[in-house]
Amino acid sequence: MDYKYIEQLLERYWACETSLDEEAILRAFFRQKDVPAHLLPYKSLFAYADAARADGLGRDFDERILAQVERPTVKARRIPARRRMMPLFKAAAVVTVIVSLGAVGQHMFDRPRPDYDYDAYRDTYTDPQSAYGSVSEALQIVSESFRKSQTHENDSLSAVPAQKTTCKE
């Protein structure tokens, strides 16, 4: 096929001498699928308009623009009461633990504080009367020991002035 006419139009196109109709002819020619190899380099030049025409705003263009411009709508969700109260429950649990630890610590350091393992005691007596007798005797011994110690202390104190008198004489 002879493409002399197209080549002539191209020469005129480079010289900016083509009319609008002639440029339309060139665009129509290069729109075809079968373009000779020696004219292929020029196809992209005349096909760009078609490609640019294909570019357009998509169907989601409005949605994208509006999403950037408008405030997002918040859909209301139903939150169960238990979930709503969960932070409060957690805070209450933490406070309870801290107060309990504080109470335990205070109880430990408060007086009086019996800390003997009374559970390990095995009663020797099975009746209170026998136990009372034993406790009374023990108390009597302790009482007598206190009195004896006081007597010994008084005796040692009273002995000191006598020695001083002797020295003076």
Binding site: Y116, A138, I141, V142, Q150
Partner: protein, 182 residues
């Protein structure tokens, strides 16, 4: 991480809350293999029963008031090697001098000697009173725990305590004999 910290704190508190032994129990523990030692125990429960019994309710000598301040009593005694036991007990009290303070003592040429210790908390509050006594070959530890103070010791010192009838009629092999003086 927070759970670990919480468990550690709780464990620390629990460890410190472990109950301690009184002097008599500790002495028995340290001399566990000594068959010459005998221990008499009166638990807090029995102390309450004493106060609720007839002897406690009908007391007119003031002993019941004194017993009301007591939680427990333990008596450890031995009729052999009194001096060795006494010195061992005395050294144990000295080892725990941060806990036990000597408040009275006497010594009659080694034949009759005694030491009285108290364990105090928060100043004047006495939680334990311990008597170590040696008479010839006989050794006795009398250990009271309870809610005591210096006023209690004054009352105890100046109260004439009767010898209970039940103990006098006991046989020679009962523990009460150990408390009876010769």
């Amino acid at each position: 991480m927070k759970l670990r910290i919480f468990i550690t704190c709780l464990a620390a508190i629990l460890v410190t809350a472990v109950r301690a032994q009184d002097f008599a129990s500790r002495y028995m523990t340290e001399n566990e293999g000594d068959s010459t030692l005998t221990c008499i125990s009166v638990s807090p429960k029995m102390m309450e029963e004493i106060l609720e019994s007839n002897v406690g309710r009908n007391d007119t000598t003031g002993v019941a008031d004194i017993i009301a301040r007591l939680k427990s009593m333990q008596v450890v005694f031995s009729n052999e090697e009194g001096d060795a036991h006494f010195e061992r007990a005395e050294s144990m009290a000295v080892r725990h001098s941060a806990r036990f303070r000597e408040v009275a003592s006497y010594d009659e040429d080694g034949k009759d000697r005694a030491r009285i210790y108290v364990r105090e908390q928060s100043g004047e509050h006495i939680v334990e009173l311990v008597l170590l006594r040696q008479q010839e070959g006989r050794f006795t530890v009398i250990d009271f725990t309870g809610d005591m103070d210096s006023g209690f010791i004054d009352r105890l010192t100046h109260t004439m305590l009767p010898v209970a009838g039940g103990a006098e009629s006991a046989s020679a092999e009962t523990p009460d004999d150990a408390l009876r003086e010769d």
